[in-house]
Symmetry: C2
């Protein structure tokens, strides 16, 4: 690589040995801390320089009017935008009158370390001020997994070699000045000042701000409590104003003397409760965290993560970068989801404002696929949020002249926020994706109570939508016309194969579950005739096939389209959507992201092995991977077909998207679905895991460059560990009753008594298919040892 | 009708016998005066009450940022919005201290008359003030066809029965307060104050304001000169401020005494010239008009219109409403186009701000079709405007990765202003529509100079676009995929028949003209290979056909779509786009406006008579006419197929859209294309006119309810008059050299010596096809005598 890596490859940490001011916003995403409820980007304590500072609360948004030059029925009138809420990170240091700023003076040492086991971000630095004064700073930051609304910072200043006059200002700031966001030029003004002040007060060493969102009306509050430890003679002063509150510590540090401030932060917000209720909840949160204390918070954090890693860790031998990347991925997946508890899990989680903080199908299809295997209770919570938005989805369906429910393409609270319906509302597959997450969760957990309540509600509502959206053609098949599949370089096509196969599963499972739970189905007004309709629609679902070319078209007619002129497209014209209009992209065979190939994975039972091989080869030739959702899907199918080195290349592309790849932009948040894709590529790819009708199927195969892959998962209350080498695989039941699994089709009963070993699968090797010019994935034939 | 008609049916006037405060905005559109450069809506002199006051200058727009929640390559960043400029209509009257307001006091008499021969709007009223004072007012208003930037008002007040203290305030007002516009809620704020003041001055009886558009930067100026005639003792006072200037006349009128003010208005604007240049042009315009004087202006207006009617009048015997309607239509078409001279002709002309004042394909396909036959020099000017925007269209094509030119879907100055590309930029047929207008103009005039210059430029640039947009399929045909035809209830379809047939003509004529003018073609870089490409693409153009159903699908696959549930759609659910999302409309067989049926008319040579009959019957069953562009096209094809009463019903729907029909909304401007459609329905419908390869073909057939239809047109420098009765048709060459025409296929040479008579055509009568439930046109079997 021409640009040196920002981070060293270590198994349990992400270490930035030198500050990289050129990619500040990216590193703020990488170093973001979150518990799924509260997220804080990895900004420097002193505030400046910064990329895009942000503190976010899941579900807390401002409204923004959408202006259309051509209004149309059904367009959302406003979008919801995740906003930077009250910022509690600021600890500004003045050393003998010089403000600490990395761009001034000298910096003999500066290191940041994200510890994936401790759940803390640690920063150590030595600064030589422009006046030649030396100071050491150590700051540690955490967002607590245990205390949902709480975060804490321990900040220590040390005089290195001579006495120093120190002023440390700890702030709470609302409407913190944001940099210009080129991605949202038109919303910049609004987002600069979304919070109207309600109250500000300071009491001893506690600061509190209460604000109200200007249009959405949410009340949000934050408090900061401080424990100051240092020389006997130090002064503490507090003051506040509408948009800020601060505590100022003044001290003189002798040689080697230290000043330490522990800052405990508490947040609360509500769209329903009174200002007083929010005020008191903020106080309760910060008081509880303060009572736990810094050491207590750190201990609890470690215990929480120890438990997670025991269940979820993935070990990779032979590729240190991938080892780090998969743990980084799992850590951020946990951060994204752990305490979301009834709030949406955004596509950028709480690491940035990309996609305006919206939730898309990424969560249901990618993130929940992983969490169902690792922490199924998190999936249950997430599907519970979807279920809570069901009334809005039912309303939306009525508005769209459909029965049942249509879930939004992008949203924070369940209202459709997509302003471009051909790639939004028309991407109805999101409904089947949600249904699929429900099915996978129930079949992986046996959670019958969920299946009979929220699960059935969701399946029935989405099945009703499909039944009313599709129609029976003159060929007797059930067709779904004019919708958009996962690939965003096509739109409004007929019989998208992915959509139809997913809708088929949705319809058939709704029928099966309704028959299995007749009383619960009756509660929803489901009768035998409706069940029969779903069954018939599912069984006769149209799946277009291009017999001439021997492949499935992504949607009807796709393979008749002219092929994109890949040879005539310069390497710097990617991503194509930044250089060509949809007018051109939609009309041609060019695939942004796996669509038919995603169907090969998620609807694997719908294709023969031979079909998969031909389809994969065909779509490799027209897929450009301009979306980070693509590579993991390609990795899974490549692995299944025995293209192990190709699979590894795709896996690495996905895994390293945020940590290594200079091409991808992480400035407005991490690629959370790609992080999930890292686990999926390893486990569904090299592990060959498929959950078919509630049964776990494995077909492990590892490329020679990886010496061992060990992963863990939960299924029906059991804990499993699977360890794969290029030669063999070992299945172990770590916990729970005996379980029958399949290895390459063979039934194996696992018991706690002993692990079972089988040879790794050797798939007949097809020639590896070619990608479009300039779009070959970087091969990982010689990874760093 | 339940609501009484607003206007009486008279042959040469539109008379409103009583004020209709419930449809004020609609009558302001009907009574709008314009010359194609300056347009003034038919507001009351005293300003209030009003619907949507407006004074517009062709091409004068403000910019408005378009906000997208999902940005995409190629989206316009701003739209252009026609703005209400400086208002010169105000003449506020106070009678013994009471302001004249129709809502106060009593109104024994109030009448407005638009005189289609005089080109004036006259208003007479008697008002009894709340204090019981009686006053007579007569105002006459004109926008001069002869003085391009000028308008004038003559306002007379008369004391009826006792002496009155009169104060008359004549104003010029910038940023006149606009009512809330529900159609543009988000732009309302911006449009409330688009003009920044530059200068205001008053000099004797002349008022002048100069303003600058806030964002677009155009400088606009207006002046009002006054001639006051009344009692010897009257006082005149003038004053002004940033946004207004006024002249106040105070007088005491004795019994029967009158006060008359003639107010002459002059306008000028520029985006390039200096403030001083605009100031002087305003002065020159108003001085010249003042010098001409009221009587001179009225005389010149009458002479201009006499000449127009001599060439253009259409006489209808047997239906007074239609007689009035067709003259109303022709008058407004002249108003829309006469002095546009290098500015766009908007789809609402200068009668309102509908479509933001944008020009769409309506002008090229509908308005210019009429003007080419009546005033070909106006078409030449209009195509000259398109040609002037060619550099922008070439840029736009490059941006869209196409060769040649792509003209905007909607614009004021040539920049694309559509914010919804599937029904905007993707409706590429606009390019063929422009080419077709060029072809029709050149073949109707023999204007070889135009053909070799601007005409060839336009044909070559559009042919190049088609050649690069389409592709050769494996079937050897030339296909055009993923574009949108005229029907806005479908989008992004393959091989839209209308588009493909129009593109075929475009390609073949470009080839023919390039061969005919090799030097001019060489100037454009056209070589033999390119010409051959166009020829081949045109000759092999794909035209999908549904052999099973025996009809042409509107686009490939259209007839396989499920049919809209017409039976289940309530009458008040129309127009469908206000009650259903495009997600539903696009996927189903439902046609907003003639698309395949427009091809049957404009590309008549591409279909056999039998195909036309089957196609028309099929599309009648799925066409809902939610666009006013539809009925005229259906009228033409219905007439051709012998469904004369059905044709008459469609013709009447189009003709009466603004004058009679309560359903259609004329508040934001007239349906100019439907006005053109009135002439087209009569002449191409009942006259059976088709211009094929420069030759005029007629197949006249008149329904029994019409006793006679006489129309005039110009062709290759000749003036023709055609007079049709249900029994026979008379062709007369009014002026010019002998001309060969065709009557029902028969060649006839017309000479100035004598008219030729032939029996009317009797087409084999098919059963009249059925329309969707609730969408039958109102039959005109018993018109008012």
């Amino acid at each position: 690589m021409t640009v040196p890596d920002a981070y060293t490859a270590e198994p349990w940490t992400v270490r930035e040995p030198r500050p990289r001011l050129d990619i500040l916003a990216d590193s703020e995403s990488v170093f973001a801390l979150s518990n799924g409820c509260l997220g804080i980007r990895g900004t420097f304590d002193e505030g400046d320089p910064n990329g895009m500072p942000g503190t976010y609360l899941a579900g807390l948004y401002e409204l923004r009017t959408m202006v259309y030059t051509e209004t149309a029925y059904g367009q959302p009138e406003a979008t919801q935008t995740l906003v930077n809420t009250i910022d509690g990170t600021l600890l500004r240091l003045t050393v003998d009158g010089q403000p600490l700023d990395l761009r001034a003076g000298e910096l003999p040492h500066h290191e940041r370390v994200l510890d994936l086991r401790a759940g803390t971000l640690t920063r150590t630095l030595r600064w030589c001020s422009p006046a030649g004064r030396h100071v050491d700073v150590r700051s540690e930051r955490l967002v607590s997994f245990v205390h949902r609304g709480a975060a804490a910072i321990r900040y220590t200043v040390r005089a290195v070699d001579e006495p120093l006059e120190i002023v440390l200002t700890s702030g709470l700031v609302a409407n913190r000045q944001q940099p210009h966001l080129p991605t949202h030029p038109s919303s910049a003004d609004l987002l600069q000042h979304p919070l109207d002040p309600l109250e500000h007060h300071v009491d001893r060493r506690r600061l509190t701000l209460l604000h109200r969102m200007h249009r959405s009306g949410f009340v949000v509050g934050a408090a900061a409590e401080h424990l100051v430890d240092g020389p006997d003679e130090l002064e503490v002063h507090v003051d506040s104003n509408d948009d800020w509150a601060r505590l100022t510590v003044t001290a003189r540090l002798e040689h080697s003397q230290e000043l330490t401030v522990v800052k405990v932060l508490g947040y609360a917000w509500s769209g329903e409760r009174s200002v007083g209720a929010v005020r008191d909840e903020v106080s309760a949160t910060v008081t509880a965290a303060q009572h736990t204390g810094w050491a207590g918070l750190v201990d609890a954090q470690r215990r929480y993560l120890d438990a997670f890693w025991a269940d979820a860790d993935v070990e990779i031998e032979g590729d240190d970068e991938l080892q780090q990347a998969v743990r980084f991925a799992l850590f951020h997946l946990l951060q994204a989801t752990a305490r979301a508890e009834g709030r949406a899990i955004a596509s950028k989680a709480l690491t940035g404002t990309g996609y305006e903080g919206h939730t898309l199908w990424d969560t249901d299809t990618f993130v929940l696929q992983v969490m169902t295997a690792l922490r199924p209770e998190i999936t249950r919570q997430a599907l519970g949020w979807r279920h809570a938005t069901l009334p809005k989805a039912l309303d939306r369906a009525r508005r769209l002249d459909l029965r049942g429910a249509t879930f939004p393409w992008r949203t924070i609270d369940g209202e459709e926020c997509s302003g471009y319906w051909p790639a939004g509302t028309a991407a109805v597959h999101v409904n089947a994706d949600i249904a699929d997450a429900v099915i996978r969760y129930v079949e992986a957990t046996g959670d019958d109570a969920f299946a009979r309540t929220a699960g059935l509600d969701l399946l029935v509502a989405t099945a009703r939508m499909w039944a009313s959206l599709g129609h029976r053609g003159s060929d007797g098949r059930f067709h779904i016309f004019g919708v958009t599949g996962p690939d965003e370089y096509s739109a409004l096509a007929d019989d998208n194969v992915y959509t139809n196969l997913m809708a088929r599963r949705n319809l058939l499972r709704a029928a099966r579950w309704s028959r299995a739970h007749p009383d619960d189905a009756a509660r929803l007004g489901v009768d035998a005739a409706e069940i029969d309709d779903w069954q018939a629609a599912g069984e006769t679902m149209a799946v277009p096939y291009d017999a001439e070319r021997g492949v499935h078209p992504q949607a009807a007619g796709f393979t008749d389209q002219p092929r994109w002129d890949f040879a005539g497209t310069a390497p710097d014209s990617y991503p194509l959507h930044s250089h060509f209009p949809y007018l051109q992209l939609y009309r041609k065979q060019v695939v942004k992201q796996a669509d038919l190939v995603l169907a090969l994975h998620l609807c694997c039972e719908g294709f023969t092995a031979e079909e998969k091989a031909r389809d994969f080869a065909y779509y490799e030739g027209v897929t450009v991977r301009d979306s980070s959702l693509s590579a993991p899907c390609q990795a899974v199918v490549a692995a299944e077909l025995g293209h192990l080195e190709l699979a590894l290349a795709y896996l690495a592309e996905s895994a390293l998207a945020d940590l290594r790849d200079g091409e991808r932009d992480s400035s407005d948040g991490l690629h959370v679905a790609a992080l999930a894709g890292t686990w999926i590529g390893l486990v569904a790819g090299f592990g060959g895991l498929r959950q078919v009708d509630g049964e776990l199927h494995f077909r492990p195969a590892l490329p020679e460059t990886l010496r061992r892959l060990t992963f863990r998962l939960r299924h029906l209350g059991r804990a499993l560990r699977v360890s794969v080498t290029p030669e063999e695989v070992e299945y172990a039941l770590v916990d729970g009753e005996p379980l029958t699994i399949r290895h390459d089709g063979e039934e194996i009963e696992l018991t706690a008594d002993e692990a079972v070993t089988r040879p790794a699968v050797r798939t007949t090797h097809h020639d590896a298919p070619a990608q479009p010019a300039h779009r070959e994935p970087r091969r990982r034939s010689a990874p760093p040892a």
